[in-house]
Symmetry: C2
Subunit: 248 residues, 2 copies
Amino acid sequence: MMSPDHAVPRPLLTEPVEDYLKAIYELETRHGVAATTDVAIALAVAPASVTGMVRRLAQQGYLDHVPYRGVQLTDAGRRAALRTIRRHRILESYLTSVLGYAWDRVHDEAERLEHAASDELIERMATALGHPSQDPHGAPIPTVDGTVDERPHRSLAELAVGERARMVQVSDKNPQLLRYLAEIALQPGTEVMIVAKAPFGGPLTLRIGANEPMVGPHLAEQVRVEPMPSAPRSLGHPITRSRKSSSR
Amino acid sequence: MMSPDHAVPRPLLTEPVEDYLKAIYELETRHGVAATTDVAIALAVAPASVTGMVRRLAQQGYLDHVPYRGVQLTDAGRRAALRTIRRHRILESYLTSVLGYAWDRVHDEAERLEHAASDELIERMATALGHPSQDPHGAPIPTVDGTVDERPHRSLAELAVGERARMVQVSDKNPQLLRYLAEIALQPGTEVMIVAKAPFGGPLTLRIGANEPMVGPHLAEQVRVEPMPSAPRSLGHPITRSRKSSSR
DNA sequence: CACTAAAGTTAGTGGCGACTAAACTTTGAT
DNA sequence: ATCAAAGTTTAGTCGCCACTAACTTTAGTG
């Protein structure tokens, strides 16, 4: 089928394979195991396609598959997934910081480039950026040797009225959401307080700087935060700005 | 990959298709028509594979194929080829100028990225570079609307002893050659004079600045130049430096 | 505890893009 | 003018990665 396949040492991962491993990694860290249907939804393919690919990947040693029970990455699979994720997040950072992309437009671009960029390119970009630890959406960037700081965060929706928190992360996959967050100035690093909370999944009123935007519960669930000790604060500007700001 | 193919407006070009069109374009501008075998060599595939692809591309309107006679691009095919070439050359320029790549290492990287980068990314890079008209190897960059300044140049090998010329272009495909040219400081924009020429395809002695490197005939053939009017010059430094230097 | 809905798998198919082997031009040299 | 070599095409196959349809397993409910 392929002329130079006589003695290929490692058949490099194809683009679809990288996508599967990445999607499985993400589902696994969120839910423990990755279900066939969830992978299918994440990749917009039919469940049967997932079963087929999973069989091949299991046989190649990238994951363990217990039929009807879900899949889990092996070490090799996890390494490959983290490599792709590192590429993706460095690309997003570079596109935002250097090339002036808005944070809601980098996902698709990075999604395609992550399969084409060489290690050298990624590392040159990382160097140009000063080796950032988070991408523009606050997601931690895996290191070259495959370690990530995946701290579980709370969602904005879980906070109680009066609590203060720092926004730390949001998914990069929903442009509308990202545009709205940019509008209300809610970015990684931003300090936010819960002013009010309507009962039964009603909207939340936030304080961000001097503004008090209202957000729906669905949005609040998507936004990851890190609660802050309720520091005493004088009315007025939040003077104690964190320097952990990672956004551009 | 069939599900979202119901009513696709433009069946975007696949990566192999872009490669074929680009290769055919390059052969066509060099030799008038593109021969099956030459395309096969350029893409490192079997001749039979070329025939197969050519049939499909002809049927899709990207080229005209006269069996046993070679292929020629249609307008649609030429447009697609030039779009890919523009991407390639802007990427090479960006990698060299902004990310510090050596000019002999950009070809492969650009070759992969040209299929993945969006129009937006390419135009952002072009803007960051100030819309260059040539890539690092002196190749003209097609405009967005598909015009190129493909002037035919002479090769260094054609010059007579005593002639002076400005180096304008060299292929990006041979890293060793490029490294050697960098070593003897022969880049697009560089002024060069033929000091001596051994007969029967022997080596040429050049003057580049204050140095007099010798180059083989094969190399000399690869280097495109633009003869300069033999200006009067006093012995010593070439003081009349051109300001048309396009290299970084 | 049986039954059914949801989730997952198997079976069979199709397009793309490569391959080899073999047949068929076209060309160029005797 | 013939014929061999070079170039090109046809025929048949294969792997990847999708798909649909039909079947199996699991889990949840009455």
